[in-house]
């Protein structure tokens, strides 16, 4: 496909429109989506201003590789796991393998959606204002704390705003602060 080929689906959308699938894969995908959707409620309805949630995350070398591969960022500073060596101390300007700067922002999402069990499908992340305070060593365990601070409607769309802090469980170092919005369906 050429670079200028934007994806525009026409006619009735098909599960296998964007990737090859057999009948059994299509059926499994449809069942999975139905399962998600049937138990889901809008994010707006599930979250109240003042709600607070927190969860600890062990940032393993494998988790960092999973994240970095997903965005095709092959910076060796993030490698404390390699296919040919497995666990290594790694190397970066800080002396040890570090976590990509926006990895924590992605995992905040997971804690936010602890408001809604199961996951509130159809919601979209629209904004973040992120303070990257200190480098995070790969292998750290962090505490992600999220507080819903506002709900507002703008151009007939419903948003929930959150305030986030991420600290090291062992040392108390504050690595990261963020304000972020979710657009609810």
């Amino acid at each position: 496909m050429s670079e200028n080929t934007a994806m525009k689906l026409t006619g009735e959308p098909r599960t296998d429109e964007l990737r090859p699938m057999t009948e059994i894969q299509v059926r499994q995908a449809r069942e999975f989506v139905e399962g998600l959707d049937s138990a889901s409620e809008p994010y707006w309805d599930m979250v109240n201003v003042g709600d607070e949630l927190a969860r600890e995350l062990h940032i393993t070398p494998e988790l960092v590789i999973l994240y970095a591969d997903g965005v095709e960022d092959f910076n060796p500073w993030y490698e404390a796991w390699r296919m040919d060596e497995w666990h290594v101390p790694g190397e970066s300007p800080f002396g040890y393998a570090i976590v990509p700067p926006m990895l924590l922002s992605h995992f905040v999402l997971s804690v936010q959606f602890d408001h809604t069990k199961p996951f509130s499908v159809g919601s979209i992340h629209t904004y973040h204002d992120t303070h990257i305070l200190e480098p995070v060593p790969v292998g750290a365990t962090v505490r992600i704390h999220v507080r819903a601070i506002d709900k507002f409607v703008r151009r007939e769309r419903r948003y929930v705003r959150h305030e986030v802090t991420v600290t090291d469980v062992a040392t108390g170092t504050c690595y990261f602060r963020e304000t972020r919005d979710i657009l609810s369906r």
Binding site: M1, E3, N4, T5, A6, M7, K8, L9, P13, R14, T15, E17, L18, R19, A29, R30, V33, L36, D37, L66, Y67, G70, V71, E72, D73, F74, N75, P76, W77, E79, R82, E91, S92, P93, F94, I98, P100, P101, M102, S105, H106, L109, F119, V121, G122, S123, I124, H125, T126, Y127, H128, D129, T130, H131, I132, L133, E134, P135, R185
Partner: protein, 155 residues
């Protein structure tokens, strides 16, 4: 990019440790970004979007009014951050700020390019704090993401 401060061959290809931006970088300096395709298999992976079918299922996306599955905005934030690490090096990991708004959808198979321009420079006791306007465009040149970053560079 200049020679890395390491003898480890596994570090070849890494950004310069101190980055490319300095106190002498002029306002108006343009960063060379990174370019990525919104690959449906990555969009719908367990890490990124499997839990929300808007990110990978054409049928569900159509039901919610989207012409195709959309990539999660955090993937574009990661692309912009990759560009910033190339230019700020270690300085992007301490006392940095990234302000970002997703203004248009990134659809499956779109090609995203990140951009940046140094817009402001404020002296600090140890060097300067640079503000860089950042944004991402799709293959049609339309902006999908806009924002700015700030980080300190030493004298």
């Amino acid at each position: 990019m200049h020679e890395p401060e390491t003898t480890n061959p596994r570090m070849r290809g890494a950004p310069p440790p101190g980055g490319l931006l300095t106190v002498d970088t002029p306002i108006g300096y343009e960063l060379v970004g990174v370019k990525k395709r919104a690959v449906i298999q990555l969009m719908g992976s367990r890490l990124w979007g499997r839990f929300n079918p808007n990110h990978w299922d054409p049928v569900y996306a159509a039901r919610t009014g989207l012409r195709a599955p959309i990539q999660t905005g955090e993937m574009t934030s990661a692309y912009i951050a990759e560009m910033c690490v190339n230019y700020f090096g270690r300085n992007f990991f301490r006392n940095a700020r990234f302000h970002c708004k997703y203004i248009a959808s990134t659809f499956a198979n779109d090609v995203i390019t990140t951009h940046g321009v140094v817009r402001d420079k404020t002296p600090t006791p140890t060097g300067a704090r640079l503000r860089v306007e950042v944004w991402a465009t799709n293959q049609s040149g339309e902006k999908t993401t806009v924002g700015w970053v700030e980080a300190d560079v030493p004298a």
